[in-house]
Subunit: 338 residues, 2 copies
DNA sequence: GTGAAAGCGCTAACAG
DNA sequence: CTGTTAGCGCTTTCAC
């Protein structure tokens, strides 16, 4: 079988290459009869125009790059993968290939992969991390770029955010509706933006019911599972004890619940928990965690929409995805009327 | 700033485009002096030759496609991601972009993504699944293809296998070394190839110590967590009871341990367990699972090596990655001397 | 409405 | 040892 090119197709259909090109690209000005004839040949031969040629002509790579940090935890990986799925689904419609790449480290500096340095990508999506130096380098390369769920808010780069304020509000509201008033807070001050959103949601829910809480119930040094456990310890060290705890992330709740268990408390009989994220583990942890789902798939989809718009030169603003969906499991007990 | 092309660089360096091209591609026949001059200009300008042009010239896309099934469990995702990491690391050295894609379903038939149909990829990597029709379609497209950890062994397509026989042998040997002789087997007959490997490793380890076991200890209907639980039930229904159980997958062990727990048995005090995989959950499950690690990262790397060889037209054979690394955790008890 | 011709940026014969 | 030239396969003016 010979190499199938647009010329071959033209020959087979008895027309010129131009005509074939017009048919392929749906341009006007072709007689319906000719169009059908050409379309028929294309269908029969399964011909596809060479992407490589179009790339050269349009000076587009039709690649978008998903940049992942090198050493990330399995949980990060899960996060990435869900976002990636959303991205991939959408990319199909836009005709982009989604290329995975990781930022490697040389001499302690992050270094961009070749696909970016050689501008072989039409756009870039970063997940969570957002090294300022890297961002600057990309800006100087002139490649559109969007950040997904950044831990720290950068200036001048469109982002896809989850609405952590709404998520926190929902998680706490859920507790209130089940009769809880004594609700503690465990979060991480490591990402101040994130912290502020979560705390603000927590506060908004509590404000509405005029609940007073001791300041020892507000813990913001939980940057990981172990630290969350320590936070829980501090909360339980004083009386009164809360009837419920809201944690700004599932992994923190898992740490905090571990602490409660160690002290002989039963969850949810003695203490209820809600959190934010819905990571894989939450379904397998004992007891199964009640949490507000962050829709990572949708974040991926939004990122694709945003990036595609930027590539087309349209002005783009950050977007926030709805984050008010609670998934009810086994860590919340309904309290009798107070 | 003007568009940087090889002509521009040539002009700046006062040479011809050919010379620049030769320098870039490390061809012989350039005076060192000229070479240095050109190299200097290239370094200063951060020039990279347009991938799009090279693609057209070489008729190569420099893409390899990682095909993922559409609806897969989070655990599959984790598997994919680890393989992908290995793949990505290696792809850098070969100069390939790793493009993620999923097989979508139309009218109940799997359909190949555009990147494959339009031959915009130099090779394809499939994970686990291996629909025969799809494979045939790809073969007719003439695109090199490798399978990673296929559940069913296809003919004529190079694969990257884990050595499940070795893994099973290692897992059972580990139990033997700790004094266990009464060791039951739980596996899944759903993937006969896989089953045979696991059982053969289990048998080989046991053969060497002449241990006799009742046939009820051999269970092969555990296609998932719940089924594994049922298998465990059957094993425990008769006496004597084994002192240890080997499961051909972590998720099966988790199901089986659940059954043992329900019956009031303590793990590992009353019953020990080993398995194969080392999935994320095994570290978080209570008790933490002792298991033989399958190195998915390495499988990804091997897949890249294999695929690259095939793309270069070299003959390629399936490879098997070493799979004898046990990760010791909390599900095995050492028995006193018999 | 359709065809001939130029060019996207690079590479590699082929001259000089 | 270096420069000129002709494509790789497509798209798109610009004539006809």
């Amino acid at each position: 079988m010979e190499k199938l090119t647009i010329r071959e197709i033209a020959k087979m259909a008895g027309v010129s290459p131009t005509t074939v090109s017009f048919v392929i690209n749906g341009k006007a000005g072709i007689r319906e009869e000719t169009r059908a004839k050409v379309a028929d040949v294309i269908a029969r031969t399964h011909f596809r125009p060479s992407m490589n040629s179009r790339r050269l002509f349009f000076r587009k790579s039709y690649n978008i790059t998903l940049a992942v940090r090198k050493s990330s935890s399995p949980f990060d990986n899960l996060f990435y993968f869900e976002v990636a799925k959303g991205l991939i689904e959408k990319s199909r419609a836009y005709g982009y290939n989604v290329v995975f790449t990781d930022l490697s480290v040389e001499d302690g500096r992050l270094v961009l992969p070749e696909i970016i340095k050689s501008r072989d990508t039409d756009g870039i999506i970063f997940l969570q991390s957002a090294d300022q130096a890297i961002l600057g380098e990309i800006a100087s390369l002139g490649i559109p770029c969007v950040l997904v769920d950044p831990h720290v808010k950068p200036q001048g780069i469109p982002c896809v955010f989850a609405d952590y304020r709404q998520a926190a509000f929902t998680a706490v509201q859920y507790l209130l509706e089940r009769g809880h008033r004594a609700i503690a807070f465990i979060g991480s001050g490591n990402s101040p933006d994130l912290y502020m959103q979560c705390f603000s949601g927590y506060k908004a829910a509590l404000d509405s019911c005029q609940a007073a809480i001791p300041t020892s119930w507000i813990q913001f040094c939980a940057e990981d599972e172990a630290a969350a456990c320590a936070c829980m310890e501090k909360i339980l060290a004083q009386s009164p004890a809360p009837s419920a705890v809201f944690c700004s992330g599932d992994i923190l709740a898992i740490g905090a619940i571990g602490c409660a268990k160690n002290r002989g408390l039963r969850v949810p009989e003695d203490l209820s928990f809600t959190a934010i994220d819905d990571i894989l583990l939450s379904r397998y942890f004992e007891p199964k965690l009640t949490t507000v789902r962050i829709d990572k798939n949708q974040m991926g989809q939004q990122a694709m929409d945003l990036l595609a718009a930027m590539i087309d030169g349209q002005p783009a603003d950050s977007v926030q995805v709805e984050s008010g969906c609670i998934v009810e499991r086994d860590t919340v007990r309904r309290l009798g009327p107070v």
